[in-house]
């Protein structure tokens, strides 16, 4: 499923955060939104995910205006994880993941229990939390907790997965674990992934497409090797950095100093 933003503008409390954004996010790929703090990355994500519908312009999902899609219907196609999620202290991993089936349940129709169970099991095994199912979510380590939340999003059986800084506050091993899960979901199940990342090397390594947000607008967008270079880092982040390729042909960047 494709996502497109047309002339998208968002203001929060009368302060313009994004203005005249035009972007299209490629179907079946991993896209990372990068940019400096306060550039409006999360705001862009929230508008595109339908969490904040207080925007001007249009968000088009699979050819349909986002505002014309019913909330539950959207939740069956698109799952989103914001930052800083919290669950009541006694909610277990399994319960949390089961909440991901909410969009498939209604007052009038009994949901298909087998389908629900299968989706929950699948989501837990994809994120490697099956063995933690009876643990309380809030008692898990940061990495395990993040995986449990991703499992909840997966139980929605989405075609699009939107993640806001999924690796922030995690140590390097857990960061890598989360990124590998995201990569597998994209490769094995064709899920379109859109995420905000701060760690540029990760963004380059795992993304097919980068969207760079700066000064309320889109600075540039494209494949990582076309976007990432020294001029870009200077203009967007104001740092001098060296970009080179390692033995595996991956682009690596090393920041040198802040240019102010």
């Amino acid at each position: 499923m494709s996502i497109e933003a047309k002339n998208l503008s968002v203001a929060i409390n009368d302060k313009v955060i994004l203005e005249g954004i035009n972007a299209s996010i490629p179907e079946g790929k991993i896209t990372s939104v990068i940019g400096p703090n306060g550039a409006g990355k999360s705001t862009l994500l929230k508008a595109v995910a339908g969490i904040n519908s207080n925007y001007g312009g249009q968000v088009i999902i699979d050819g349909i205006d986002l505002k014309k899609i019913k909330r539950k219907e959207l939740a069956r196609k698109l799952a989103v994880l914001p930052q800083g999620m919290q669950a009541p202290p006694d909610v277990t991993v399994e319960q949390l993941v089961d909440y991901g089936r909410f969009p498939y349940r209604s007052w009038f129709k009994k949901s298909n229990q087998i389908e629900d169970e299968e989706a929950v099991e699948w989501a837990m095994s994809e994120t490697n939390v099956s063995h933690l199912r009876h643990r309380q979510v809030m008692s898990l380590s940061g990495g395990e907790r993040q995986r449990a939340w991703i499992a909840m999003a997966l139980a929605q059986k989405p075609e699009i997965l939107i993640l806001d800084e999924p690796t922030t506050y995690l140590d390097i091993a857990h960061q890598l674990e989360v990124m590998e899960i995201v990569k597998r979901l994209n490769e094995n199940w064709g899920i379109t992934v859109v995420m905000v990342l701060h760690e540029l090397n990760q963004a380059v390594k795992y993304s097919d497409y980068l969207v760079v947000v700066k000064d309320k607008g889109i600075y540039t967008a494209g494949a990582p090797d076309t976007v990432m270079n020294e001029t870009f880092l200077k203009e967007v982040f104001g740092v001098r950095a060296e970009v080179f390729s390692n033995d595996r042909g991956e682009q690596i960047l090393t920041p040198v100093e802040v240019l102010r």
Partner: protein, 330 residues
């Protein structure tokens, strides 16, 4: 404990225990009082095949009073349980959406300024409670509702109305007795007309609350996650707040400003059955019935022939219990 709490079996057995507690409280409240009535006669009377003075006491005094107490306990507990989730605040209860201060000022106004019209206390208090709740909701509205703004607006409006209550009481200090009883909350002399006033709200509100249990569960994950899962958060919050307001207003307008049931009972229930509202709501309702009927029985019997307003007893027990919960949790 943690694994226990989340097993379905454990939660259903707790519900069963709470149900037994509710039934025991109900029966005790009918049997005990200035005249004790043996269980056999109570059962006969409930079946409709008894006569005599005991039967009269049961039917015109004990039974309606007990039913009012049970419904009040249930409504306040459900209301508090809903509000704690909707406001994402463990201290939320019917007070914070203005129900108590609204009902308080309206009821006291009737009692002190229009003393001939006391039969209107209940409907006027109900209107006052709902007006205060609507007022707080409107004051807290700014591009949608943030729970924190409701709580702060609630504190401000309650303080404002509280000033009015105190003012009226000071200017009318000679006829303050009824107003004081009202402020504390009690079941004395509550009868069938009061039952008629409260039960439609208990039934309707109770059913709606149970139907909304899954939505409330999702709401506890935060607004953004809930939206992502397909919940219309603003709408759900308004509807749930309205249900909570109706439940609490119907209770408070009948018995006065009964404190702590709406705060303590859902809290206690949550500690025991956990935060899954499919279990927490029925648990709160049953525990509310049990607590109010038992407390009212004690209030009638313990200091006989003096009868305490049940509100005093519940605050006296409720406050220390609440502190105990706080120390355990924080």
């Amino acid at each position: 404990m943690s694994d226990n709490k989340s097993s379905v079996k454990w939660r259903i057995s707790i519900l069963a225990i709470f149900a037994i507690l509710a039934v025991v409280g109900f029966l005790l409240s009918i049997m005990m009082g200035s005249v004790s009535i043996p269980a056999q006669e109570v059962l006969d009377s409930l079946m409709g095949n008894a006569t005599g003075t005991h039967e009269k006491i049961l039917n015109s005094i004990r039974l309606p009073r007990t039913v009012v107490g049970a419904l009040v306990g249930m409504n306040l507990a459900l209301s508090g349980a809903i509000l704690q989730a909707v406001m994402k605040n463990p201290l939320a209860d019917p007070h914070i959406i203005g129900i108590s201060s609204g009902a308080g000022i309206a009821g006291i106004m009737v009692m002190l300024i229009f003393p001939g019209y006391e039969m209107f206390v209940t409907p006027v208090a109900f209107v006052g409670a709902m007006l205060a709740a609507v007022c707080i909701y409107i004051l807290a509205w700014k591009n949608g509702i943030r729970p924190v703004r409701i709580i702060l607006a609630g504190v401000a409006v309650s303080a404002f109305l509280g000033a009015g209550i105190s003012g009226m009481m000071i200017f009318n200090s000679d006829k303050i007795h009824n107003a004081l009883m009202w402020m504390v909350g009690g079941l004395s002399a509550r009868s069938w007309p009061h039952v008629a006033m409260i039960w439609p709200y208990s039934l309707g509100g109770g059913i709606l609350a149970l139907l909304a249990a899954r939505h409330i569960n999702i709401l506890q994950l935060g607004d953004e996650v809930a939206k992502g899962l397909g919940v219309r958060v603003e709408l759900t919050r308004i509807v749930l707040t309205a249900i909570a307001a109706l439940l609490a207003a119907s209770a408070v307008s009948v018995v006065g400003l009964l404190g702590f049931v709406g705060l303590i009972v859902p809290h206690a229930a949550r500690l025991i059955v956990g935060s899954d509202y499919r279990f927490l709501l029925p648990a709160s309702a049953l525990l509310g019935i049990g607590v109010v009927t038992i407390c009212d029985t004690v209030a009638r019997v313990a200091f006989a022939p003096v009868e305490l307003p049940v509100g005093i007893l519940m605050a006296a027990f409720g406050a220390p219990f609440f502190l105990f919960l706080l120390r355990r949790e924080l």
